[in-house]
Amino acid sequence: MIGETTVRPGLWTRAQRLTIERLQIRLESLVVLIALSVAMAVLSPYFLSVSNILNILLATSTIGILAIGATYVIGSGGLDLSIGSVMGLSGVVGAFAAVNLGVPSPLALLACIAAGTAAGAINGVLVTRALIPAFIVTLGMLGLARGFALVISDGRVIYGLPPLMVYMGQGRPFGIPMPVIILVLTAIIAHVVLAYSRFGRHTLAIGDSEGAARAAGIRVKRLRLTLYALSGGLAGLAGLVFMARVNSGDPTAGLNYELTAITAAIIGGTNLFGGRASILGTMIGALIMGVLQNGLNLLAVQPFYQQMAIGAVLILAVYIDQFQARKDARV
């Protein structure tokens, strides 16, 4: 393929262009997802069933929601390492409000998202106003949010959520688990906004070249602050889903989830240095990990190997990306 200089591009190249232009996803990741699914379906007779596919989506829900936020922030050339901890904090805030303070369920659910948004906004202010590098700010918030979650909950898991809150994680309207519905709706909105709105274009523009974006009149600081708050808010939503799924506010929830979420975004084709990102791509990245994990679970493979498999997929995904970039540069 390399160095081929036909006038009419090959089928593969045309398919690549089509998926990028129409869906903002890389054909390679889609092919990997399909190939992986076929392999799992062949290897395990339990893989291809509606309930198992719902399982995969359910298992991907919290990571998927976090990864949406990660995609926006990384796409803008930023980084948010605090999302796993903020997710834990949000769940604890919601559970504490409902169980210990007796706050009505809808308000307690809002409190989850508000807590996440607040933590994200603090990140944003520190990055844009105090000019501390995002890596440091969000690494600090990772510790602050986790510690605060432990303080609020006194290091214990808060049990006994009211039914409406549990429904958000365990309810199944039309047979579809609530977390899956929340993920899909969030992903669709986030995809449309990132791909087609001015906000989305500006986000990728500041990731591509902050200087050029500023020269073009984009209010970079305000946009960055909004993006960190958005990432925090989505972490709050993920915390809400987690809390409802396990029916408790767990201060250790989301430990290391930030790395898994970033992995999903990168496997899905987000450029680690900003400028290129797509939510559909990220969802495919998250599903690749979900399918891999689910399949290996069905085959009863030790969890240690699963971590190795996901690490290998990450490196492979970025390698394919680099390979493609070099090829494009040559043509």
Binding site: L43, N55, R156, Y159, G169, D250, A300, Q307
Partner: protein, 322 residues
Amino acid sequence: MKGLFRAVALAAMVAGVTAAHAEDREYGILMKTLSNPFWGAMGMGVEDGAKEAGVPYFSQAAESDQAAEPQLNLCNTMLERNPAVMITAAINSTNLLPCLTAAQEKGIKVVDLDGNLDPDVLKQAGVNVTFHIGSDNVAAGGQGAEYLVGKLGKDAKGPVLVIEGLSGNITGQKRARGFADKLKELAPGLEVVASLPGDWDRGKAANIANDTLTAHPDLVAIFAANDGMALGAVESVYAAGKGDQVTIIGVDGNVDAVKSIKEGRLNASVAQLPYLVGKQAVENAKKALAGESVPEQIAVPTLVLTKEVLEAGTEPMLQFVK
């Protein structure tokens, strides 16, 4: 092409084997994690138990003992294989509830491995567990107190430190309470002057022991809710030059503790027998599936390990200390 053919044939074989398994309904075993010796030993017990009973099984574990949501995902996946029974060691008392409810609806029996499920929470969720199996943690704490009183005498006097587990963790609370209650009953002169959470952390326990020795230089004993913390306390006590004055007792009987006991540093450890717990869980599950009656609470005994017991090597239960 030949390679491809081989790969497909191999895949088909694997698929065939897995499908054949499903017909004699497997035993699904879901553990917390494999990355510590306690769960490793329990896994061995399960394996040997299943082999002896001649039942097919598959076992899975979350990546760490804090991965509550991944464990729930694993549990849901396990349902797809439609096992006859699910022997589960839940990370906390609620994380697996949705999955266990679904298992019950599918007619899969549920077993609580290592007593992590709270009967009250289960009742609220409407889940009926076939049986709970594990060590009796209150009794294990009590055995620690019995050992201490046996060593110091029932008229002994002096301050005692208790190092609890992670604050709010039921296992650590039971052990600490079992120890304190039994001590009060057997030797009222030994007074628990502090009972502090060491969070299962060796370093934190060492600090607690250090601080308590400063406040109570005449400390006579330390009971820690697990061996890691007891070993942390050992370091502080020996660093303070009080190894002969303070009796230190841990719980678990893990490899490091056994080594320390043999070296004459740690005085005793109330050993749980996770191997036996795993083995008996499978044996009792088989009984329950065959329609025999099985007690709702099965307590697997614990064993006090001391230098004498280890050196004599005559205690029959020692073979289960792994």
